[in-house]
Amino acid sequence: MSEVTLPLVEVSVRERPAFIAFTLRLIREKPLGAFGGAIFVLFLFFGLFADFLIPYGVNETNLRVRLEGPSADHLFGTDHLGRDVLSRVLIGAQLSMTIGFIAAGLATIISIVLGVLSGYFGGKVDMLIQRFVDAWMCFPDLLFLMVVISIIGAGVPQIVMALSLIYGIAGSRIVRGSVISVRENMHTHAARCMGAKTMHILVRHILPNIMPVVIVLFTTRVGAAILTEAGLSFLGLGVPPPTPTWGGMLSGTGRTYMYMGPWLALAPGLCLTIVVYAINVYGDALRDLLDPRMRGSR
């Protein structure tokens, strides 16, 4: 969200500017958003190359250096088993980023399918889907995830699946709204009058025009998925130990040692906050530039 009276440059979505040009515009008009994007990319890099970046083995214990504060050898200190916190945080980034990206990607696809079905075809289908979405949104994300995971097991694929379903269904409403407005556009009517097939209209006229909304939706979902997964791990229901997760590092047995080594409480939470903050400001900036109508909403 930002200044409501931003002088908006006319952007026709059909002639989408090249990625580079858009990035430059982002840097010029939304420096904070661009900064968030950069941090986001940085963490993505950490996640992708975590295996090469870690200075120590993730589960390599060394009892001689247990519960040591941050030092040159161990930048973020060590935990109660003498494991290097930095290494664990990096591998945690890998997991968080993977889950965030894949879950948000799948969720976006689900949202598009449901949103287009509901928004473009309308009528009874719309009615049915929307009442279902209403009912679905009565349940808190985290609670739903807890229960589903307790039934299907706490592996990465299961968590990704559950998260994408949760966010996919909820997000379909946003896609629907935008499909409805595009459906009434002149060019869509024109295409229909010329006898274009439904599939052709959907792919060539509807989809490109809802892309801005979809991109913003995807971005915010990455942050939400990362946060929810961390909450699940914090409650001890996420990916089981010894796999390090940001949420998991703040919970369980580690908690008792935080009173002796307060730095244990800092690194994972700080990383989470920074990543989610970066994604949020980036998403906000994208929204302002791509889709002025959505400004101020979430």
Partner: protein
């Protein structure tokens, strides 16, 4: 207004049915081998056999019969018995729900007292340093996970000043002050994270409303700025904020689970966590019924208040 209320109630019906179906199918999702797992994991279960659990979960009947007998019980206020403790689920819920409700209510009060004044300030002083600080704060609050904030509150005061929040739960009617001093820390943490979105929404809506003609008229007729904002702008600006509060209730409940876990508040969240770790599915679906229907009811209340706040809505 009456017609509006009746219309809203009727529109609620299909959603209610779908909510019940979602809860039901979640319970049905439990594959058979989970029952074996339940038996092997739970040391309380030694004297129970598979058939007893299957019957308790109702797996021995066709699905539609299961649904109708389940929903029939739910309507009559019977949510079944806990698998491992021989107490009705409703009794456990009756003990824990008021606690979670209190936590949520306190958090909501905190959220609104923080969010609305700052949101108004931010809109009135748009693009000043104060506005930027308020907005950065709200973005930050959106990003900080509640469980991390809770952990920090537990760890650092204890390390630095040997102070830690009270963890011995006392019921409100036994000792209100003691109870509040215990609940206030989790409520503030929960409220702060909720205030972020509300603050953003208040600001956006106020900005929108402040540019309306009737606000200009109010100013032109010489009203003081305070009167313009409080009496003319705020009332209209707050309508969408009220809706937002309804939408945030699920978020609030999710956050409450985490706060209850950190601060050992014996509410519904803790009950749910315990039930999940013991795979006590009747309790789990009981919590879900209460949460699902509770959220629906709150949203209904929000919708009705919408009709009361905004005459246009009830005459549609």
């Amino acid at each position: 207004m009456q017609a509006y209320i009746i219309r809203r109630l009727l529109a609620l019906l299909p959603t209610l049915i779908l909510v019940s179906l979602i809860v039901f199918f979640c319970q049905r999702l439990i594959p058979g081998d989970v029952i074996d797992l339940m038996l092997s994991q739970n040391d309380l279960a030694t004297d129970q056999d598979r058939a007893v659990i299957e019957a308790a979960l109702g797996f021995d009947q066709p699905m539609y019969i299961q649904y109708f007998s389940w929903i029939g019980d739910v309507v009559q206020g019977d949510l079944g018995d806990s698998l491992w403790q021989n107490t009705p689920v409703t009794q456990q819920l009756a003990e824990t729900m008021p606690i979670t409700f209190e936590l949520g209510l306190l958090a909501l009060i905190v959220a609104l007292t923080v969010a609305i004044p700052i949101g108004i300030y931010s809109a009135v002083r748009q693009d000043t340093a104060g506005d930027y600080i308020a907005r950065s704060f709200s973005l930050l609050m959106l990003a900080i996970p509640g469980f991390w904030l809770g952990t920090l509150v537990m760890v650092f005061p204890s390390v630095w000043w040997r102070w830690s929040p009270e963890l011995e739960y006392v019921p409100f009617f036994e000792d209100p002050l003691q109870n509040l001093s215990l609940m206030i820390v989790p409520a503030i943490l929960l409220g702060l994270s909720m205030s972020a979105v509300t603050m953003r929404m208040t600001r956006t809506m106020m900005l929108e409303v402040m540019r309306q003609d009737y606000v200009r008229t109010a100013r032109a007729k010489g009203l003081s700025e305070v009167a313009v904002i409080l009496r003319h702008a705020l009332r209209n600006g707050l309508i969408p904020v009220v809706t937002l509060i309804g939408l945030q209730v699920p978020l609030l409940i999710g956050g409450a689970v985490i706060m209850e876990r950190i601060f050992v508040v014996p509410g519904m969240g803790l009950l749910l966590l315990e039930a999940i770790s013991q795979r006590d599915y009747p309790v789990v679906s009981g919590v879900f019924v209460v949460v699902g229907f509770g959220v629906l009811l709150i949203n209904l209340a929000v919708d009705l208040s919408y009709g009361w706040l905004d005459p246009k809505v009830r005459h549609q």
